[in-house]
């Protein structure tokens, strides 16, 4: 036998061992981490346990957002195949709607092996009984209980508390960015709007996780790790539910917004935007019909008028402009001028009409405010010019976000030269600030838009003597034992306004109620109240045109009222807008009177309401122009027909 055979055998052995050695080294040394993770994934499964979402209560602990048990019929994806016509089988025992079928299909597409697919949620007692009794027909189906959000006051808080919904793909991406995605499972609820969204972290609590070791067939072998769920905290709001209800009812069938603030603390007392919508519809996905009802409703119920709707402030702008002129040292209260019933820019022939056709004669600032003289404020606007207006009014937070604890609010528009140059960049003439612009701004029209929230915030600054306090809903964060975890830290700035100036304006606003444009609400008043009416033009109409007289309600002006009371240390300040409500004293002011009576004197003094909260049924009407920066009255600023009702 030749030696070559042995050598060949050795070579074969050598390569065989090298092959095995490198293969095992490759698996065990170079890919160890990959396979280790795979082996862990093999045996460990995580069973999440849901925390109970914190409730939301008003200042008197009335529950505004609650949790309740709901029963759902569900099936596992692996068993779905056996049910070709799952719905026809069950429809004998449960009422399955088209929406249920649609939701079921959506879930089926994204469900993982052990995610229960809900066939029908919110089963009635009869349905539960029927399904349980006939369970032998479909043993794969399960009726299980789960906790669901419920808003007991339906529409009342649709724009403040908002609603929760299932985690969507967008939510998931946001959660991934913020690193909190591990706190949620695919079917969880998450705050989608309002306070539910803003305080998501506080309300949510922490997802519990039970890690169990399972064998190859999925049987539990032992508990590896158990992190209990931590329930969410309760939010106690500054809102007064009774006042909120009253404000809602006072608006009646009209569209509009009411924002009431405690000027001493910045706490929101009432926050109504009408029409609203039922947030309960959104929790498990809204039906297409309901959605088109809401999104195509001309009343625009999805719009949060209080924080996102912007309106020209009309005459409610005047006290702020007057105070700004005093603060800047540009005018003194004694400045007197003649109001002939119109105003003319020197060197021009255009007439700006006053609401008093024959004028008020010689008036000072106080009279101008009490009587709401347009001529006085046309001149003040023109004399101050845009730069002083911008500087003087921005201290009231006008034109900037209030910083309220809501996810979305509008900035409104406090005009400036820069803003106009940008807005009309392509218009050689309009891109400059024109004297006529200042004239319109002077009476709260033209390039001048604010949210009711901004106006309420601004009037509360006058109310409390010049302290800018950030408005807020949250009062306290409370744990399940009733212990206060956190109290809202009020952030406030004392404005550099002289007390004499501010008291002058406060007194003028007091006189507005007693003898001025709002004297209609003063009868039987048991406390000292201050306020200012306003009328915001919807479109520029000629005062004498036939159109104005016969036009429908959608062309009527918006009715504004801002107020606070009592004069001595006010505890409530409010801004009210009634869309197409006509003049300020007519629609908005009585609402303030009722609210203040109720708040300051108690429920035994109801002004004109039974205190019961009524559902609002939106009626068809033409969409109202509430755009912020180019509201439909571009022409009103330059028009000689501008008028302002009392």
């Amino acid at each position: 036998m030749s030696k070559s055979r042995i050598i060949a055998a050795y070579i074969f052995v050598f390569f065989s061992f090298i092959l095995l050695f490198t293969r095992y080294a490759y698996l065990q040394l170079f890919n160890h981490n990959v396979f280790l993770q795979q082996s862990i994934d093999n045996y460990s499964s995580i069973v999440p346990s849901q925390p109970i979402r914190g409730t939301i209560v008003d200042r008197n602990s009335v529950i505004l957002a609650d949790n309740q048990a709901a029963y759902a019929l569900a099936v596992l994806p692996k068993d779905v195949k056996r049910f070709q016509n799952i719905f026809s089988k069950i429809s004998k025992y449960a009422n399955i709607t088209e929406l249920d079928k649609k939701k079921y299909k959506v879930q089926l597409q994204k469900a993982k092996n052990y995610d229960w697919i809900v066939i029908k949620d919110d089963l009635s007692n009869v349905e539960i009984a029927n399904l349980t009794a006939h369970n032998y027909e479909f043993p794969e189906l399960l009726v299980f209980a789960h906790i669901k959000r419920i808003y007991p006051f339906d529409e009342l808080y649709s724009h403040s508390i908002g609603y929760v919904g299932r985690v969507s793909l967008q939510d998931k991406n946001k959660l991934i960015k913020s690193g909190r995605v591990r706190d949620y499972t695919a079917n969880d609820y998450i705050g989608k709007s309002g306070l539910e969204q803003y305080y998501e972290k506080t309300l949510r609590g922490q997802l519990g996780r039970k890690t169990i070791q399972t064998d190859a067939t999925g049987n539990e072998v032992r508990l590896l790790n158990n992190t209990a769920a931590v329930d969410g905290y309760t939010l106690k709001l500054t809102v007064d539910n009774a006042l909120q209800k009253l404000a809602w009812n006072l608006l009646g069938e009209r569209k509009g917004a009411v924002v009431a603030i405690n000027p001493q603390t910045g706490g929101i007392l009432a926050f109504v935007s009408k029409p609203g919508f039922d947030p309960n519809w959104f929790i498990d996905g809204i039906s297409l019909d309901d959605w088109s009802d809401l999104s195509q409703n001309p009343g625009n119920p999805l719009l949060n008028r209080a924080a996102q709707g912007t309106y020209p402030p009309g005459s409610t702008f005047k006290p702020f402009l007057a105070l700004a002129s005093l603060y800047l040292g540009f005018r003194t209260p004694n400045y007197t001028m003649n109001d002939p019933g119109y105003f003319v820019i020197p060197g021009s022939s255009r007439h700006y009409r006053d609401s008093y056709p024959y004028g008020l004669g010689m008036i000072n600032m106080k009279t101008a405010l009490i009587k709401s003289s347009d001529a006085y404020f046309y001149k003040l606007g023109l004399d101050m010019g845009v730069d002083r207006i911008h500087k003087g009014l921005s201290i009231f937070g006008l034109g900037s976000k209030t910083g309220i604890d809501l996810p979305i609010e509008n900035t409104g528009l406090l005009p400036s030269r820069e803003w106009k140059a940008k807005r009309f960049a392509n218009d050689e003439y309009q891109k400059n600030w024109l004297p006529a612009d200042s004239v319109s701004v002077g009476i709260g029209q033209g390039f001048n838009n604010y949210t009711p929230l901004q106006m309420a915030h601004a009037v509360s600054i006058i109310a409390n003597g010049g302290i800018n306090i950030k408005p807020h809903f949250l009062d306290q964060v409370i744990d399940e034992n009733g212990k206060v975890i956190e109290s809202y830290t009020v952030s406030s700035t004392k404005l550099p306004i002289k007390a004499a100036d501010i008291n002058f304006i406060r007194e003028a606003m007091h006189q507005v109620i007693l003898q001025g444009t709002a004297r209609g609400i003063s009868s039987g008043l048991k406390y000292d109240m201050a306020g200012k009416t306003g009328t915001a033009q919807v479109v520029g109409l000629s005062a004498n045109s036939r159109q104005a007289k016969f036009s429908g309600s959608q062309f009527k002006d918006h009715s504004w009222f801002i107020a606070f009371a009592p004069m001595e240390k006010p505890t409530i300040a409010a801004a009210i807008i009634v869309e197409n409500g006509g003049w300020g004293a007519g629609a908005a002011a009585p609402i303030a009177r009722s609210l203040f009576d109720f708040y300051l004197l108690g429920p035994e003094n109801p002004a004109q309401t039974d205190g019961q909260y009524k559902k609002f049924t939106p009626t068809a009407s033409v969409k109202v122009d509430t755009d912020d920066d180019d509201s439909g009255d571009d022409d009103s600023g330059g028009s000689d027909d501008s008028s302002d009702a009392q």
């Binding site: 036998m1 055998a9 050795y10 065989s16 795979q38 082996s39 064998d215």
Partner: protein
Amino acid sequence: MIVPMLSKIKTFFRALYDLDQTVILTLFCLAVINILVQYSANDKMLSRLFSDVVYLGTSFVILLVVANLNISALKHIAIPIYLISLVLLVAVLMFGVKVHGAQRWLNLGIRIQPSELCKLSVPLILAYYFSLQSRGINFIDYIVGFIFIVIPFALIAKQPDLGTGILVLCSGIFVIFFAGLSWRIIILALIIFLISTPVIWHMLHDYQQHRILTLLNPESDPLGKGYHIIQGIIAIGSGGLYGKGFLHGTQIHLDFIPEKNTDFVITVLAEEFGFVGVCVVLALYLVLVSRGLRITQLAHDIFSKTLAGSITMSLMLYILINMGMVAGILPVVGVPLPLISYGGTATIVLMIGFGILLSIHRQSKY
């Protein structure tokens, strides 16, 4: 009374001392590893471990007995054993016990697998046949030798048990190789084999084709045939350098590994003792195989040389196929890992082989 007994014991130990110490020691080390691994692989069931130890003990006794036999005695039994093997294989095809669609076992009070016997009887008859050719082995002899191989191979393949069939085929081919078949013919045969591969492919059973396909791409069927391979690889890889610790393998103890005490036993070692454990076993195997080749080299006559060579290279083949298969680089063929898998006919046959090897070594010293 005591004196003759003492002398008998003395003779026994002298006999033991005369045997190759390296092989004995290595086998002993592997037996220790076997007991550790089997304890874990059988989930600490002492009854299973006990029968494994009994098999191990028995096979060690058989080893020593065979090692002390005169090698020429094997020449006398070569033909009878070969014939018995063939008879049993035919009997399997006629009266065999069918398990999982394959008829591999014969129930003679205890269940035996005649194909295992062929792993010895085939090289034995070939070595014997070639040793008879005193004037040198010519081409006709190789043809005859090949016929000796093909008959049992065909019978085993028909059971069907292609894996064992190939191992039997190889054990015979190793004898032919060491007998000195010219390289030109070997290379020619290899070329013919490669060309005929497609033809062979079509002759394979569906499950055999599937096994090979699954090997090429285990992920194609992660819960079917590929499952075993994937889970085996996860077990091996997750062991890392030092392993998860004795009795702490999760893949093994949570039933992710099938046949963990037999064909997939290396996963137990790899998961619980890591790469270090695998290397220790590989080193022990390397010692055994090199020692076997050294014995082959030192053997005096053609019978001893070819037999020793075949036994050694068969051992190498078992190691390669088993560890390669579990690690996903070779097709899944039902081959136990020598001396680590749960004891059985295979272990006993293997130890007889080592006995023959030791006997050849003992006699080549003189």
